[in-house]
């Protein structure tokens, strides 16, 4: 258990592609030079030319394949095991989506193809927009933002444009202290100021604190509902009333939409702007950190300011891109957004349909509550109590505070020990207001057997920790590398291979 006996994966020391190969070795065969030879100076004068080629790897194709396949095995992935990472919605990624996204009509379609020769793509975007509008209860959509945080930026810039159009310069944005870190970071990037709103004892927005901070300088309240505690705010209608009462907008962070699809809609709750995470609720694979896609849905009063271009449908039924909306905040990126993600999300919505989306949310909530119930067992709940509430929606947050105090085992240690049991740990140390937080989101695609096994693993780790806390404190043991020195990495950053 001390790491003295190395496992096969541990014995392979990390070696980068730049440390492999040999001078002159290659994979690429350049197509034939089929045009007349011209004096190099005519093609590109020497003063613009590169003196030395970039020191890229010199490797053969078999070497490349073996290198990347080998290092891929040093990753844990959703296809291999349970990944209950809170707020990340790690649900199954259907392979059908990869197949349809790879069809040349989608994958080799140039973004500046004339709209009349891209009717299938524009229709797909239109249909996806209609579906997202129905799911969110807000009628106007822009698919452009590249990820959730990009959607948030769009939302805050839209709010700003909305107030500016009325001649108002509101500079404050309210966010609860349970908010995702992207919310406050976005507010700053949009040139506004963050004001925190407290959380009440039930885990929702503290209404008194909200009323005290709701004044004429407030542009927007950014909220996640259910919030990052997995709890639906029972006062949502009152919150909306307060926010609209001061003329501000209400922004919905859609990271947790997987709890309420077909059950409750942000638009009906009073939200003006919503962002979706297609890489969470709609199964775009996470890719180890992207790509994502963060479309937004907005109410009528925000619609004139949506990013350009918009997908429009003419009276003849033909689709087009409209670049002319004069009050638009402008573009947030090149072209029309992450279309490849739209194809996958649209395929998912087509597969599930209305009842399937609702079923997905219901089963996500069932699985979360079942796992929570399993973790209320003796031997677990006294060390890892539920932080707020009794039931939850799609995720729940436990506090490792008692575990740390009584066993000397921190949430981080528990997470690392879970690695030895073959599970990806839940999100740790978030939300910040929960001591030693452990945020668990199982998703609807997991079986009861998997949830049972995970709960048993937590119980076993805690039982083991009661006997000998050092086991968890020094975990993991079975991973390709063991605990890494993050402090040293940040102190003296080495961020590229020395050549």
């Amino acid at each position: 258990m001390t790491g003295l006996t190395e496992l096969p994966l541990q014995r392979q020391r990390a070696k980068t592609i730049f440390q492999k190969g040999a001078p002159g070795r290659r994979a690429f065969v350049c197509p034939e030079l089929d045009v007349p030879t011209v004096d190099p100076e005519t093609l590109l004068p020497r003063r613009f030319r590169r003196a030395e080629p970039p020191r890229l790897p010199e490797v053969s194709e078999p070497e490349i394949v073996r290198h990347y396949v080998s290092i891929s095995k040093r990753n844990f992935d959703l296809d291999s095991g349970f990944y209950p990472l809170g707020s990340c919605t790690m649900k199954h990624n259907p392979r059908l989506h990869e197949r349809v996204a790879a069809l040349p009509g989608h994958a080799r379609l140039h973004p500046l193809q004339d709209p009349e020769h891209a009717q299938g793509a524009l229709e797909l975007m239109w249909n996806l927009q209609q579906a997202l509008a129905e799911i969110s209860g807000l009628p106007h959509i822009s698919l452009q933002p590249s990820a959730g945080s990009h959607g948030e930026l769009a939302g805050v810039l839209l709010t700003r444009a909305y107030h500016e159009a009325k001649g108002e310069h509101r500079h404050k944005v309210l966010t609860p202290d349970t908010a995702h870190g992207t919310n406050p970071a976005t507010v700053t990037m949009a040139g506004l100021e963050v004001v925190k709103v407290a959380t009440n004892s039930g885990g929702g927005v503290d209404l008194d604190d909200l009323r005290a901070k709701a004044d004429g300088d407030v542009a927007c309240l950014m909220l996640t509902n259910p919030n990052t505690l997995g709890l639906f705010d029972p006062n949502i209608s009152e919150i909306a009333e307060i926010v609209h009462g001061i003329g501000a907008t209400l922004y919905y962070d859609g990271a947790n939409l997987n709890a309420v699809m077909g059950l409750s809609r942000p638009g009906d709750m009073g939200f003006d702007i919503v962002h979706f995470n297609l890489h969470k609720s709609f199964t775009q694979p996470h890719g180890g950190g992207g790509p994502g896609s963060g479309p937004i849905a907005v109410s009528d009063r925000i619609a004139p300011f949506l990013p350009r271009p918009l997908v429009v449908r003419g009276e003849d039924g033909a689709f087009d891109l409209d670049y002319d909306s004069e009050r638009s905040i402008g573009r947030l990126r090149g072209f029309q957004g992450n279309y490849g993600c739209f194809v996958r999300a649209y395929a998912y919505i087509c597969s599930l349909g209305a009842d399937g989306l609702k079923d997905a949310s219901e089963m996500a909530v069932l699985n979360a509550n079942y796992l929570l119930a399993l973790l209320k067992r003796k031997g677990v709940a006294e060390y890892l109590p539920l932080a707020y509430g009794e039931l939850c929606l799609h995720e729940f947050v436990l506090s490792g505070g008692p575990m740390k105090r009584e066993l000397g085992v921190k949430t981080l240690d528990l997470a690392k020990r879970l690695l030895d049991f073959g599970f990806h740990p839940p999100t740790v140390y978030f939300p910040l207001l929960v001591e030693e937080a452990l945020m668990v989101e199982p998703t609807e695609t997991e079986t009861k057997e998997t949830l049972d096994a995970f709960a048993d693993a937590i119980a076993e780790i805690l039982a083991e920790a009661v006997e000998d806390p050092e086991i968890a404190k020094n975990a993991p043991y079975s991973t390709p590398v063991r605990r890494l020195d993050e402090v040293a990495a940040a102190k003296h950053p080495v961020i590229r291979q020395a050549l």
């Binding site: 290092i71 590249s146 209305a354």
Partner: protein, 466 residues
Amino acid sequence: MSRYTATTPENLAAMLAAIGVGSLQEIFDRQIPAGVRLGRELDLPDGLCEQDVYEHLRALAARNTSAEDEVSFLGAGMYDHYVPALIDMLMERSEFLTPYTPYQPEISQGGLQVMFEYQTAICELTGLPVSNASVYEGPSAVAAAGYLAKLHNGKSRFVVSAGLHPHSIETLRTNAHGYGMELIEVPLSGGVTDPEEWAAAIDADTSAAIFAQPNFHGAVEDAAALSAAAKSAARDNAEGAPVVIAQIDPIALGVLAAPGECGVDVAVGEGQPLGNRLDFGGPSFGLFAAREEYLRRMPGRIAGETVDVDGRRGFVLTLQTREQHIRREKATSNICTAQALNALGGVVYLSWLGRQGIVELGELLLARTHYARETLASIDGVEKLHSQPVIREFALRLDADVAAVKARCAANGFNPGVDIQALTGREEDRGGLLVAITERRSRAEIDRLADVLGAAVAAERQAVPA
């Protein structure tokens, strides 16, 4: 239609009993107020079985004219380069496709090592010492670089070459409005950024000076002169020179001087040409490299090398105190999920091209682009928009309506390029056609394009006399 779930009626009963509720409905009734429950089915079509979804998506794909269906010379930011088969295979591997961001490094060494290798490749390509693990894509990378400059020097103005891609200018403008920056656009002269206007526009309040290399019209800029002019224009300013930002095309850097050798401080760019599909505009990735002094203000993830408790080499996400999940409102960017999988495609592509290959490919593009430009410019009614050196793309002016000419070419299976005015909306760009060359476009195809384009221009001039 229930899909990808596994709860049998027996499972459901057992799970509800364990939870201590009588029904699934009770879980929702106890938490979601009645007033905000939907209370009806979503108004969406019924679910479909897998083969029917495939057929529907295939039928939509068939209504698009892709680069597979015509001989395409479209570019202006994304290009129809050949993507080697091994990239598809590696990007579809579960181990790369399905994990989240590597928050648990012990079980994410594959992804973290890919980021580290990617950063190394981008540093080599750009000649700059630090790179992040990618941002969203090209134009938003320009905006992110602008934000870095604003954080770095707190000045109030961006000076931007009109040779920047119009999407980059507009994206920068959208973002800059948020944090209160002014934009000054410097016009092109003879196809490149006007050096006198450039120098005149830069002053003590200039936060960043931004140009594209090659520029939107395909012309190679004198990057070293633009950088030097930006620095010397602000020479007498105590707070220092503006941050010089270049939007670069990475595929050109086998033959074109590296931004780091030309005095550029921050190089950003669209990564799509490096092994990523067109995908109607995304997902791809944005590259972002800089001089050392900007490291702690970089946006996005950065992988760093370290050791584990037993002394084994390993990789972690590092300098995370820049990031939103730690620093919240004080973060250097709000970026969270970005483009890790697409960046994997990028580094595999660069390994596949290799040290010699990237130069050979660059030389091939230079030669074919030169040939295509001279061949097309010799057509009656077609002229070069400028005569600067070009690498992989060039601008022409047609003495005919571009949309009509394009339609005639399309009827013959050719897409001659991007209608510049349709992209910029500017009157002065009327007649502009931007033609892109990749290694997929052979001499034979270029010769046929010359015939098709020549006939189309002639026919249009005859149909609509000048």
